[in-house]
């Protein structure tokens, strides 16, 4: 990869203080839980600290110097995020707590929207069996509360969306199609543009859960075909408590407010209020100011490396991990087994061992993986397992860490006497 010339993992690792952490028994940390949350470079932490120590004030409210500095930094973060995902307009970037809030925002305002967007009795919402709970439960709540119907696409045995009945599931009754771009459990990269084409044919809105996609891939929101799309800061080197909902400008302008209060208003009288245009209409209350500024610094960090290089590294490390894991007897990968249309999360089973036990032994060697249902119970049910173990790297992950995982799994086998 010619793009990866400047991409030196060892140099990058020096930016992440936590990677120097020694765990119990003086073991170095092998952090393979980045799909759950990423670690933070000091550039982001310095930005946070500098903001609080030098510029802290509330935004969009004060005419004093700190207020102007804080507002300028906060709005500059909006510009940075818009550029990062190639949003046509900065006003399309709504700051949320995370993708979960973004998806709930969409599901809620669609209950209250004017036609043609309102979801009501007889309408259908389509999701997939591959979704994170955050893209299932909001739609269950919406359809239950409005009398609409929830439908979904299934999954093939090799962990791809089953599109064979696409035209039967997405029909003239479909108002919304909401799906994950990159699965946090299977790793699958879904053909979102193709699905969006079908959805738009029938006049449905397309919502994307891009929580795993934006951190890993060079991103262009308009190329996805989505009308609305959410992602989360803490998975892309940013602080917790911050995420982004992107939406087409004309669509956002046509949607009613979500929460009320603070700067989302134009005028407030006791009898009734009028509302500010997007993005402020959807940002009630004091926003996560420092967190947005920190996320801006994270976007700067990723852009400086180049998202092509980040993606290339992710692919390389994933290919290596897939190869090493598949070579271990009794390891069974759930999801695509090659890097073709595949992100970095690798979920697997190991004989009959329970992921908690696998994770606990790995942890005693300093290796951090996730064990459980990864907030995706339906996918697990689909593959007939209650839980799985998941390894996920990021731009700071080395081949040596994948080797440590493979060696660790042999220790797990020894410890439990896997039969």
């Amino acid at each position: 990869m010619s793009l990866a010339v400047d991409f030196d993992v060892e140099t990058i690792r020096k930016d992440f203080p936590i990677l120097e952490r020694r765990l119990a028994d003086d073991r170095p940390l092998v952090y393979l839980d980045s799909a759950n949350t990423s670690q933070k470079p000091r550039q982001v932490l310095d930005t946070l600290r500098d903001h609080y120590e030098q510029h802290n004030a509330n935004v969009a409210r004060a005419v004093h110097q700190l207020g102007e500095e804080a507002t300028a930094a906060f709005e500059a973060a909006r510009d940075k995020l818009a550029a990062f995902v190639k949003a046509p307009s900065r006003d399309e970037i709504i700051f949320t707590r995370g993708v979960t809030e973004g998806l709930n925002l969409v599901a809620n305002v669609l209950a209250w929207a004017d036609p043609p967007y309102r979801v009501g009795p007889g309408d259908e919402v389509v999701i997939t069996e591959m979704e994170h709970h955050s893209n299932i439960v909001p739609w269950q709540l919406l359809t239950q509360r409005t009398g609409a119907t929830l439908r979904w696409l299934g999954i093939t045995d090799d962990g791809r969306l089953d599109l064979s009945n696409l035209d039967d599931v997405i029909t003239e009754r479909t108002k919304v199609v909401s799906l994950v771009h990159v699965s946090n459990m299977l790793g699958t990269i879904n053909p979102v543009a193709e699905i969006a084409r079908r959805a738009h044919e029938v006049g449905a809105l397309v919502v994307l859960d891009a929580a795993q996609a934006v951190p890993q891939l060079p991103y262009d929101v308009t190329a996805t075909g989505a009308d609305l799309l959410g992602f989360t800061g803490h998975k892309m080197l940013g602080p917790t408590g911050i995420g982004v909902l992107w939406g087409r400008r004309d669509l956002l302008a046509a949607l009613p407010p979500f929460h009320g209060g603070g700067e989302m208003i134009e005028d407030v009288r006791m009898e009734r209020s009028t509302y500010a245009p997007p993005p402020h209409r959807f940002e009630a209350g004091t926003p996560p100011i420092a967190q947005a500024i920190g996320l801006g610094a994270a976007a700067d960090y990723l852009s400086a490396l180049g998202m092509d290089a980040v993606a290339a590294h992710e692919r390389e490390i994933t290919a290596y991990a897939l190869e090493r894991l598949q070579a271990i007897p009794d390891v069974k990968i759930i999801g695509p087994t090659t890097v073709q249309d595949r992100g970095g999360a690798i979920s697997f089973t190991f004989g009959s061992l329970h992921p908690h036990d696998i994770g606990q032994v790995l942890d005693s060697y300093g290796i951090a993986v996730r064990g459980g249902h990864h907030c995706a119970k339906p996918v697990h049910r689909r593959f007939g397992v209650p839980a799985s173990t998941r390894a996920s790297g990021y731009l700071y992950t080395t081949r040596a860490e994948i080797d440590a995982l493979a060696d660790g799994l042999e220790q797990v086998r020894r410890f439990f006497g896997l039969r």
């Binding site: 969009a60 409210r61 004060a62 005419v63 207020g67 102007e68 507002t71 300028a72 700067e263 208003i265 134009e266 005028d267 500010a276």
Partner: protein, 155 residues
């Protein structure tokens, strides 16, 4: 001192003694604008005679910058053609968005006259809306007036 770069003497003069304040008849376009952050508001009317802005009348609540900017607006566009008025509006926007660039101000002196005094406001993002409130109302009111006029032409 910093403060004078925003509050130039000309601005304070217009603030203390605004020109053309008050709402007058007749008018073809009217606009109400509010600054959600501070609650400032303006109602502004335009009276066109053919292509010419005969009068701009206005009333509202606001800080010295918004009041002075409306007074200056009144002086600048009265008697101008529609096209000239829109050009002046565009120049004022350029001035305010120049972040206080004196070179920009100098280049716009012919078009904006006294109003170049507002260049300093561009250094204070929170006040930019104050300076533009009346101009936003003007643009809106002119739009309405032209619809009425063109309706007249067709009808």
């Amino acid at each position: 001192m910093q403060l004078e770069s925003m509050y130039q003497e000309i601005i304070l003069d217009h603030y203390r003694d605004p020109h053309g304040r008050g709402l007058r008849e007749p008018y073809e376009g009217e606009s109400y604008q509010v600054n959600p952050t501070c609650g400032d508001e303006v109602t502004l009317r335009v009276h066109l005679d053919g292509d010419v802005v005969q009068d701009v009348s206005y009333e509202g609540l606001g800080c010295s910058i918004s009041q002075a900017s409306q007074s200056v607006l009144h002086d600048l566009v009265r008697g101008k053609t529609l096209e000239q008025t829109l050009a002046i509006g565009a120049d004022f926007l350029t001035l305010i968005q120049s972040k206080g660039d004196q070179a920009v101000a100098d280049s716009l002196e012919e078009s904006l006259d006294d109003a170049v005094a507002f260049v300093g406001v561009g250094k204070y993002p929170a006040r930019i809306k104050c300076a533009l409130l009346g101009w936003m109302a003007l643009k809106d009111a002119l739009g309405q007036a032209r619809i009425i006029q063109s309706g007249g032409h067709h009808g």
